[in-house]
């Protein structure tokens, strides 16, 4: 059964810079993200991956073309309205985690819920639940400086997950991680897409991530140049065991 489209971009053109330095970063990109799918966006540096991610995440607006998230279009929205759309529909995971160093893991997740205007009790319950879901129930009070890169990225995943967004966008989520943690995070993202019915898009260079994808979209020179839909049988469907690493450490 086909999952519903939650984010759809059509004919996206994005020009960056001014005057003679103006370049066309995206040249008519169309892409749909479906609930329950993990899509990988792959391409060489400068191909327009991050620009596309920024537009899909309502951080940048396209020069032309349209983006629709669920039933809402981003055309003509002000920065504040775009922020509101991000609050309601988008969860971000960043390459460098972008955690607040002065806040604990729990507070980092709770902050993402607080900006959504949720009450204290709700933010506490959801933050604890999200951290438990990524296997960090024992690290609630830990500061990022006391956590490994893999743990920090899992906090970032929990932060993205906590607000129950329609779409989770990940920018090079494994780039700063070792092999084991890279696999763990990708397994987690695949599991989130599948179990929670989120649309997950990960921008990546990392070939280790292929095994977890439902779909791989290739972008070059601002254009989509190919798309592979991976058969279910070929996918690494191994469920992420959140306790595995802790047991190993023990």
């Amino acid at each position: 059964m086909s999952h519903p489209v939650v984010l759809e971009a059509r004919n996206i053109v994005k020009e960056l810079g001014e005057g003679a330095a103006r370049v066309r970063a995206l040249k008519g990109v169309s892409l749909s993200l479906r609930a329950g799918e993990l899509t990988l966006l792959m391409g060489p540096s400068g191909s327009g991956k991050t620009t596309l991610l920024s537009i899909l995440g309502c951080i940048l607006t396209p020069t032309s073309g349209s983006v629709r998230i669920k039933d809402e279009t981003i055309d003509g929205l002000t920065p504040e309205q775009l922020a509101d759309l991000r609050r309601r529909h988008i969860g971000f995971i960043f390459q460098s985690y972008n955690l607040f160093p002065t806040l604990t893991a729990f507070e980092n997740v709770r902050l993402a819920l607080d900006v959504r205007g949720m009450g204290y009790a709700e933010t506490v319950a959801k933050a604890e639940s999200a951290l438990k879901a990524v296997g960090l129930a024992h690290k609630l009070r830990s500061y990022p400086r006391n956590m490994s890169g893999g743990e920090q990225q899992r906090v970032a995943v929990a932060r993205a997950l906590a607000g129950a967004p329609s779409v989770i966008l990940a920018d090079e989520p494994t780039a700063a991680l070792d092999s084991e943690n890279g696999h763990a995070v990708m397994a987690l993202l695949a599991q989130i897409a599948r179990d929670r019915n989120h649309a997950v898009l990960a921008v990546t260079h990392d070939p280790r991530t292929h095994a977890y994808a439902d779909r791989i979209v290739r972008i070059e020179d601002g254009r989509i140049v190919g798309e592979d839909r991976r058969p279910e049988a070929n996918k690494n469907v191994k469920k992420y065991d959140i306790t595995r690493k802790r047991k190993a450490n023990a």
Binding site: T50, L53, S54, G57, I59, L60, P79, E80, A83, D84, L85, R86, R87, R88, I90, F92, F94, Q95, S96, N98, F100, P101, T102, L103, E107, R110, L111, A112, D114, V115, R116, T123, R159, D171
Partner: protein, 376 residues
């Protein structure tokens, strides 16, 4: 979370926090001392007028302040005033500078204040030794405890001279200070005239006490018409005129207020500088917040909360130091006054200063591009 994030941002860099607090503290102490001095000076200038019992003051034309009224009024003006409907009593006062000769040699400038206690016009107050009635003794005067050293006397019973006339300390007051640094010497009306060598019926002021229910403004106009060669001032007008003379014509008040404004400016610049650099350091975090969907208002509140917290901590520390300075100044020639109103005003000023300081930081985050989160 706004307050939590603000606290963590503030305490994350302890050195910067200390610089911020020192800036606020410096500013608070400077403003508190300057405004406290202003209030202290103001009190010294207007105390005599405030403690007087009379709604209107009749003065020689152009009298600039309480101490500079001349001794030009005659019984003619007093009788004319007494004839006006609504006037209950007209109390004569004699006030003038005079030279005080210390018993051990040397002299100092003083202000003789002559008034009869039974007239209930202007009496020495806060008498801590001796009594008001003892001033009526043939050579009796009252002086303030804080000026005993300046006057070359030690206490009750000591003798000095005003001009060529001997006076004896019969009463001591506390807290009656003079802005001109010339101590007030309280005595009876006629002795004041004698000490000053002026005609026995001349006065510096007539204090007009009115019949209850009298329209003061109407009476003032009536007296002005009856007494064309003198001025008739309300208590507030005479107070303002004295303040204008001593605080503003001399530039003393301008210097005090200018110092306070300077303190505010310095504090604002220091706090603005540290808040701006703190915001710049946390720019990636604010960009992340923006990418996560936070409204710009949410981020502004974090910065304002940082400013507010700095204000509260800086205010408390600054006020502790300011209050120590106030206590230390109590027995000096120019005591600093801290009133509840000034304390509240200082707190509001501190909050305002910190809010203004946050403007540059807010402008910085307003221009933040959430796309920068992808370039780290």
């Amino acid at each position: 979370m706004i307050v939590t994030l603000a606290i963590r941002n503030l305490f994350h860099d302890r050195v910067r926090l200390i610089v911020t607090l020192v800036g606020i503290l410096f500013s608070i102490v400077l403003v508190a001392v300057q405004l406290g001095l202003y209030l202290g000076a103001r009190k010294m200038i207007i105390d005599m007028i405030e403690y007087s019992n009379g709604e209107l003051w009749i003065t020689a034309y152009g009298a600039k302040s309480f101490e500079e009224g001349g001794i030009l009024l005659t019984p003619r003006e007093r009788h004319a005033a007494l004839a006006a409907p609504g006037v209950a009593a007209v109390v004569p006062l004699v006030v003038s500078f005079a030279e005080w000769r210390k018993p051990g040699g040397g002299s100092t400038n003083t202000v003789i204040v002559g008034s009869d206690a039974e007239d209930n016009g202007l009496k020495a107050w806060n008498i801590v030794e001796g009594s008001l009635s003892s001033i009526e003794a043939p050579d009796g005067v009252a002086v303030d405890r804080s000026y005993l050293g300046d006057l070359g006397v030690k206490g009750i019973g000591d003798v000095a001279q005003v001009g060529d006339t001997r006076v004896r300390i019969r009463a001591i007051t506390e807290g009656i200070r003079s802005f001109t640094m010339a101590p007030y010497i309280f005595t009876t009306l006629n002795r004041a005239r004698t000490l000053l060598g002026v005609p026995s019926e001349n006065s510096t002021y007539f204090l007009v006490q009115v019949v209850p229910g009298t329209d003061i403004e109407h009476l003032r106009k009536d007296l002005t018409e009856r007494l064309p060669n003198v001025e008739v001032l309300t208590k507030a007008e005479f107070r303002d005129r004295s303040l204008d003379q001593w605080l503003f014509s001399t530039g003393a008040g301008v210097a005090l207020i200018g110092g306070a404004i300077l303190g505010l400016l310095v504090g604002t610049v220091i706090v603005a500088q540290t808040l701006y650099s703190s915001t710049k350091d946390h720019l990636n975090e604010f960009a992340t917040l923006r990418a996560l969907g936070s409204s710009s208002g949410y981020i502004h509140k974090v910065i304002l909360a940082q400013a507010g917290l700095s204000a509260v901590i800086g205010y408390v520390l600054g006020m502790i130091i300011a209050l120590v300075v106030v206590v230390l100044s109590t027995h000096t020639a120019l005591p600093i006054i801290m009133t509840p109103g000034l304390a509240v005003s200082l707190f509001l000023l501190t909050l305002f200063m910190c809010a203004i300081s946050a403007v540059s930081a807010i402008m910085k985050v307003t221009k933040i591009d959430p796309a920068m989160v992808f370039s780290r």
